[in-house]
């Protein structure tokens, strides 16, 4: 047991909360013991799951003295509610944290994230104004607005101020290219590399084309002013209901900005490559992919990594934390499924090759997800594709039997694919046994 690396994906509905224990990988002085880390703690679902997860986490951690448990590293991949909602100091009061990592775009003082931060704060203002109007937004857009909820401020404050103070540490804003000594972890016979995001956030993930539009809109923009009150002017040549209908069919710059900001935030997720005993584990947060890398334009994380950190990525991995809860745009693949070779399909074949006929896959993967407001997350076809490339697959149709139809939106988005092997899913394991987490072990 102790020789196996453990990844425990807590069931937090739509969110991430993953514990990783690397055996005998921590060395302080002459003492060698396990290295314990937590990656994200958030959800857009029931927050009680998060507190339960941390309670369970405490049972896995060693004593730190003073009645507390020791956590060596806390990684916060990016600033979305489904990854940070759980960072309440009360929930972590029994945990001593050795280091807190956030991505460099979350550093308000980072000069190469200035525009990104501006975009983020514009989007936040716009979305909070929108929330106040209490308009009917439909479930998908409601999610987008919810990403910018006031509660995020509390979580970010906890991560930047309260928790570091309580633990006597300063948070680190990490990016690709930082050396192990710069990262400063007490690791032994293991490395934790950051391969995303790049340090120059604005250049890679915003790009010059977005810059121009952004500047223009910052200059104008009623939507982005704090506590905007809607105007009462009404046209006199059309009816009130025609005008209301018209407004609902005009482009919303607020939504466009929030969506863009959200996309950039996903793409600045910390991507970790953990190497231990010849094994490679990839934790990708919500990193997205695009058709290909375009220099100077706004790019997605996977393409940037393929372009800038190819040596790290261009080899099979042994574990994948499937990105963005199984979303179609967070695991590079040929989503048209037409057999064409594309940059994303090349990346997937490099990290998780389909085993040759007769051979079996050895890699493992897990997805922390639940089908909720955004009905195409997880993308079942993607999970089936990944099921061809990993060993820890499950046939959830067979396992769940008649209960399968109780999965949300089963007919449209599960049925066709549930009978094919898929990697372990927190939602299905929970439906099966009420499991509060999914464990994946990697042997040396």
């Amino acid at each position: 047991m102790a020789d196996k690396l453990l990844v425990r994906a807590y069931n937090v509905e739509v969110g991430d909360c993953l514990y990783c224990r690397i055996p005998k990988a921590r060395k302080v002085g002459n003492q060698i013991d396990d290295f314990h880390m937590l990656i994200d703690c958030g959800t857009v679902g029931t927050t009680s799951n998060l507190a339960a997860a941390i309670s369970n986490l405490e049972t896995m951690l060693p004593d730190a003295g003073g009645g507390k448990k020791r956590l060596d590293l806390l990684v916060v991949t990016h600033e979305h509610a489904d990854h940070i909602a759980g960072f309440d100091p009360a929930v972590f009061q029994n945990v001593t944290i050795g280091a807190i990592w956030m991505n460099t775009a979350m550093d308000p003082a980072h000069p190469q994230a200035e525009l990104t931060n501006q975009l983020h704060s514009l989007a936040t203002t716009a979305m909070r104004n929108l929330a106040r109007l209490n308009l009917n937004l439909g479930p998908d857009l409601q999610d987008l607005v919810a990403l910018y909820s006031l509660d995020n401020d509390d979580a970010m404050n906890a991560l930047r101020e309260t928790l570091p103070q309580a633990n006597g540490i300063t948070p680190k804003y990490v990016h690709a290219g930082k050396t192990p000594s710069e990262l400063g972890l007490p690791l032994h016979n293991a490395t934790i590399r950051v391969i995303g995001p790049e340090h120059d956030i604005d250049h890679f993930y915003l790009g010059e084309d977005v810059d121009e539009t952004l500047q223009g809109l910052i200059a104008a923009g009623a939507m982005f002013r704090e506590s905007m009150t809607p105007s009462t002017a009404r046209p006199t040549n059309i009816s009130e209901s025609d005008f209301r209908r018209l407004r609902s069919r005009m482009m919303s710059t607020a939504l466009a900005f929030a969506e863009l900001a959200s996309e950039v935030t996903n793409n600045t997720s910390i991507v970790l490559l953990i190497e231990w005993q010849g094994k490679r584990l990839l934790f990708v947060g919500d990193a997205e992919w695009n058709t290909k890398f375009k220099a100077g334009k706004h790019n997605a994380s996977w393409n940037v990594m393929w372009h800038e950190r190819k040596t790290r990525l261009n080899a099979p991995i042994d574990f994948l934390k499937i990105g963005h809860h199984g979303s179609v745009n967070a695991t590079p693949w040929n989503d048209k499924e037409d057999g064409q070779v594309t940059e994303p399909s090349t990346i997937l074949d490099a990290i998780l090759p389909v085993p040759a006929s007769g051979a079996t896959a050895t890699a493992k993967a897990v997805v922390s997800t639940m089908r909720k407001n955004y009905q195409t997350i997880p993308r079942s076809a993607l999970l089936v594709e990944l099921g061809k490339r990993v060993a820890n697959v499950r046939n959830y149709q067979t396992l769940l039997g008649a209960n399968a139809s109780s999965l949300p939106k089963f007919d449209e988005f599960e049925k066709t694919w549930l009978g094919s092997p898929q990697p372990a899913r927190t939602d299905c394991e929970n439906a099966l046994t009420g499991a509060a987490f999914v464990d994946v072990e990697v042997e040396a």
């Binding site: 929108l130 109007l133 308009l135 009917n136 937004l137 439909g138 998908d140 857009l141 987008l144 990403l147 121009e212 539009t213 223009g216 104008a220 923009g221 009623a222 939507m223 809607p230 105007s231 002017a233 046209p235 006199t236 040549n237 059309i238 025609d242 005008f243 209301r244 209908r245 018209l246 407004r247 609902s248 069919r249 005009m250 482009m251 919303s252 710059t253 607020a254 939504l255 466009a256 969506e259 996309e263 935030t265 996903n266 919500d286 997205e288 058709t291 979303s327 179609v328 745009n329 989503d335 048209k336 037409d338 955004y374 009905q375 195409t376 007919d411 449209e412 988005f413 049925k415 066709t416």
Partner: protein, 627 residues
Amino acid sequence: MSATKPTISLGPGDAPATHDDPPARALTALDRNALYAARRFIGTDVEKKLKLRISFDVYFQDPLVAQENPKLAFDEEWYVPWEPGLQDGPTSARFAVVDYDAHMDTLAQPARWDEKQDGFVDPEGKLLNRHNTEPYQFHQVNAWAILQHALEFYEDGWGLGRRIPWGFNGSRLIVVPHAGPGENAYYDRSSKSLQFYYFDRGKERIYTCLSTDIIHHEFGHAILDGIRPLFIEAVTPETAAFHEFVGDLTAILIALRNTPFRHQLIEATGGDISKESTLTGVAEQFGKHVQNKPYLRSARNKLTMADVAGDQRPHYMSQVLTGAMFDIIIKLSKHYLDKRDDATVPQAFWNTIQRMQFMALQPLDLLPPVDVTFKDYAMAVLRAEEIANPADPDDYREMMLDVFIKRGILDTATGAALSKPHHVFERLDLDVFHDVDLISSSRADAYRFLDDNRRALFIPPNIDVIVADLCTAQKLTREGRRLPNQILLQYVWREDVVLEGRQFGHFDGQATTMLCGGTLALNQNGELLAWARKPGSQATGTSPPANEEQGKGTYRRLAFLESLTRRIRSGRIGTPLESEAGLLAKAIPPLVAQRVDGALRFALSPHFGITDDEDDVDGGRAWQISS
């Protein structure tokens, strides 16, 4: 619409009436209304003198072209029919300008109609014309006047010869000239609107409401939606491409009506407008600043149907048809030049442009009610020509057929069949005779006609049929000759289809319908003008023609499923994200799927963006919003 005594305009030479021409005596409002009621019998020139047509200053292309090419700045012959109900806005019978900016949440003051000056004034009371183009109110009037003119282009005798309804319920299309920031302009049926956005390019602010090409293109979508509302419920890329084609065609045909522009073109090309390089050179100006979709440039392409087979990009595909129509323009002008001794190049070109109005527009009334293909349009063009010009001494049909065959729109077998000698007008072979006057008098009578003749019309016996449209048109030909009235009856039915198989993704197992039907065009003598059908796969009889029809319908059904599969695979179908807060363009896929009466219906979304779709990104991932 002036039907009986139009003045034949020979192009350059006929000076338009000016504001200075004194009328015989001052007209009262009552007089004007009475003349307006009688306008069908008054010629265009007299209308202008009587101020039943008012001139407006509109940009020929856009402000930047106006700067670079002052001769082409404003269209000098832009007339808009006067209406008794003109109001502030501008607001007229068919258009209501609402100058609301969704981003700024502001409403600009409307241009005010000043009856005395026969024009619109800005909030300061100053007349809006080429000397007063700065205020937003000028933009409002510019867009409105262009749209009024374009509508007339379609409705008058050389167009469809009838009033054309919109694709939505209502008479007024809402026009939003400054909808907000964005490189966008689109027609949206559900809000009954044409929306024009603005964007910044360096220090310049570019207003799409000042780009005549963009206004014409979006108007093309709106008017086609009115002529054939069921085209929006189309699964095939070709039907979406046809929508794009109508937009481009409108822009080109109306642009070529501008006299100084034609003259510049002729000068630049040394009289040979087929010359590739110089035509492209002149067209360079257009769209250079505003968008990457210059209409004239896209018309000069050599694409064939084979080049675009299987493509999903509607505007890219549309170029085959736009190119074909431009080939016809060139051949026609060459013909006018060669065959007429007295013709000068300007004359020949003007004759061509005039003829193109009815040659290209009148076939629209003969199209099937659903699922149009380029071939349908080509057949309609040839048939419309045959109706207007049965003797065809100049062999226009052969010339057009040749163009369509070269582009792969029609094949040689079809061409041979069309060229075989035949009677131009025949009577429809019916089971039960119905008088054509009765058919055209009401929908109920049209229903009865259809039902009594299901067998003859290849309508399946066990499905209810719907009268999609019934109208009468008075079209004109080149010399202003009245064609016999056309009675146009469109009928449709829905064939049930269940989608079975993984290729339908998450639609697997769901029910949808395939639209079938036909357009029957009869003249006032009951003769069959045209009959364009989209058959279903159900049996309608046992005769050889019925079997043949069923065969075609079965093939159609397979093609429908194939198209749908391709659309789903390439991720081009999604569910619409409705919100009271407005649209998130990124989250709207090209086709949306909605449930109506328990079955799926697929419909084209408004197309956002004004640039070409050559670099269009495929895949469902494109519409996934990041959260």
